[in-house]
Symmetry: C2
Subunit: 226 residues, 2 copies
DNA sequence: ATTCTTTGTTAGATTAATAAAACTTTATAG
DNA sequence: CTATAAAGTTTTATTAATCTAACAAAGAAT
C-alpha cells in the first residue's frame, strides 16, 4: 500500500474532508453526495464508496439516501487541513511576496505536507495569525475556529463605527505606519468620509479627529462592526 | 486513476528517480535492483516492475539481469527533483531558521509539490544559490549540475591554500562579518594554523597576514582546494 | 564442473482510488 | 396518484503500487 508516501490519512481523504467542511457551511452541516461529487469532480459512486470508508473511521455520519454530515472528529480533521492551507496562504503572501490571487493553488499542494514543525514554524514567523490573507479565520492547533465576522475597513460605509481586529499585511513597513498613526488592535474607528475618487477614507479615533487612510491601508485592516 | 492528486509523474516515480540518481553516483552510473530495493525499502519484485514502467517512459535503460542506468531524460528529471529538494533545504535553513539537521525530512515532502512558481520564488529569495546547506550542488532549472568539489574551510588542514567559492549562511550578520574582514567569493586563503582546542583557524589572505576565524565561521565557508 | 548463494524475475494477490453500467430510492410535475 | 426526473447505490472493472511465493540466472566457493 501507498500510505507510506501519502501519509496516514491520505491526501485524498484530506480533500474529501475539506470539501465536506466547506460545503457544509452553506447548508447548516448537511452535504449531498451530488454536491460533493461535483465539487471534487469525482463521480458519485466513488464518493458514496469513500463516504462509507470515512464513516468506518468515524469521520462522517453516513446513512443511505440521507445527507452527509461530518462528525466532530471529522470537523476537527478538516479544520486542521484548512489551518494548514490558510497558514500557507498567509505565509506565501506575507513572507514570500506572492499576490493574494496567486497563492491558492500553491497552498492546495502544500496543505498536504506532513511536517508539523514546518507549519508550526510558519505560524511562529507570522506571529500566530488568526486570519488568512482573505480575512478567513485560521483554525487553531486543536481545530477550533473563531467565527468572527471580519470585514475590511475598505468595505465600510460613511458613518460606520468599527473596532480594528486584525491586520492582513504584517510587513514591518505597514506595522510602522500603523504605529505612527497610533492604530493598533482594539482601536475604535469611525468612518467620517469616503472619497469616491480614490477610496481614501477620512476617519476619527482616539485623540485623532481627522486622519486620512489610503485605500491600500484600509484594505489591510480587518474590523468588526459595532 | 490518481494522477490528478499525485501529479503527472507521480511522487512515487520521483522517489525512484531520485534514488537511482543518488545511488548511481557511487558506481559510475550503474545501480542494482537490490540496492535500489534496499534504499527505498521496497521489495525487489516491485522495483523490477517499476523499472519496466520507467523504461517504457524512456527514463531508465532496463535489460533483464543487467544493472540499471538512468537515461539522459531520467537524469534530468531526477536532477529537477533534487533541485527542488535542495532549494527547499536551503530555504528552510536560511529563511525560516531551521537547523541543518532538521530540514531533510521536511524537504523530502515539499520536493513533491507541483508549483514551479513556488520553487522559482524560493530560488529568487535565496538569490539563486548554487549549493545547499550541506555544500551539495543545486542543479539549475535545466537539471544541469556543476560538479565542483567544494569542502568546508573547517575541514581543511594547516598549510592548505583554497579559494572561497560559496557561503552556506547568507544571513545579513554573516555577510556583514565577511565584509568587515574583506572576505568575498574568489578570495584566496591559506590556513596558517588550526587551534586544536576550539578549531579556530588562523588564516592569511590579501592584505591580511593573520586573521582568526572561529569554527562557526569556517563551517559556513565553502572552498575549492588549489 | 558442480553446488550453493545471491540476485533478479514471474505469477498471482491485495489495497486504494477511481469509473461505467445498471439498478433503486426519493422528489417533482402533471 | 402516477410518471418521470434526479439523486443515490450496487456491482463490476481498471489502474497504480505494493506484496508473497515460486522460479531462474549469475556469481562464488569448493
Amino acid at each position: 500500500m501507498n500510505a507510506y508516501f501519502c501519509g496516514m490519512n491520505s491526501l485524498v481523504e484530506e480533500n474529501y474532508l475539506k470539501a465536506l467542511f466547506t460545503l457544509s457551511q452553506d447548508n447548516n452541516g448537511e452535504v449531498s453526495v451530488n454536491d460533493l461529487s461535483k465539487h471534487l469532480d469525482i463521480k458519485m459512486p466513488t464518493v458514496t464508496n469513500m463516504m462509507k470508508k470515512l464513516a468506518a473511521k468515524k469521520l462522517v455520519h453516513y446513512e443511505s439516501y440521507k445527507p452527509l454530515r461530518l462528525t466532530e472528529k471529522g470537523k476537527k480533521e478538516a479544520a486542521l487541513v484548512i489551518r494548514k492551507h490558510r497558514l500557507t496562504e498567509m505565509y506565501l503572501v506575507e513572507k514570500m511576496g506572492f499576490g493574494w490571487d496567486e497563492v491558492h493553488e500553491i497552498a492546495e499542494q502544500i496543505e498536504h505536507v506532513r511536517a508539523p514543525e514546518f507549519f508550526a514554524k510558519m505560524d511562529e514567523l507570522l506571529n500566530y495569525p488568526k486570519i488568512d490573507p482573505h480575512g478567513s479565520p485560521i483554525p487553531d492547533k486543536e481545530g477550533r475556529i473563531e467565527w468572527n465576522e471580519y470585514s475590511k475597513l475598505s468595505d465600510c460605509k460613511e458613518g460606520d463605527s468599527v473596532i480594528v481586529t486584525a491586520v492582513i499585511n504584517t510587513s514591518d513597513e505597514f506595522l510602522k505606519f500603523l504605529n505612527s498613526r497610533a492604530i493598533s488592535l482594539g482601536v475604535r474607528i469611525r468612518v467620517e468620509y469616503k472619497e469616491p475618487f480614490d477610496n481614501t477614507m477620512i476617519v476619527s479615533y482616539g485623540q485623532h479627529p481627522r486622519e486620512a487612510l489610503s485605500h491600500i491601508v484600509c484594505e489591510s485592516l480587518l474590523v468588526e462592526k459595532i
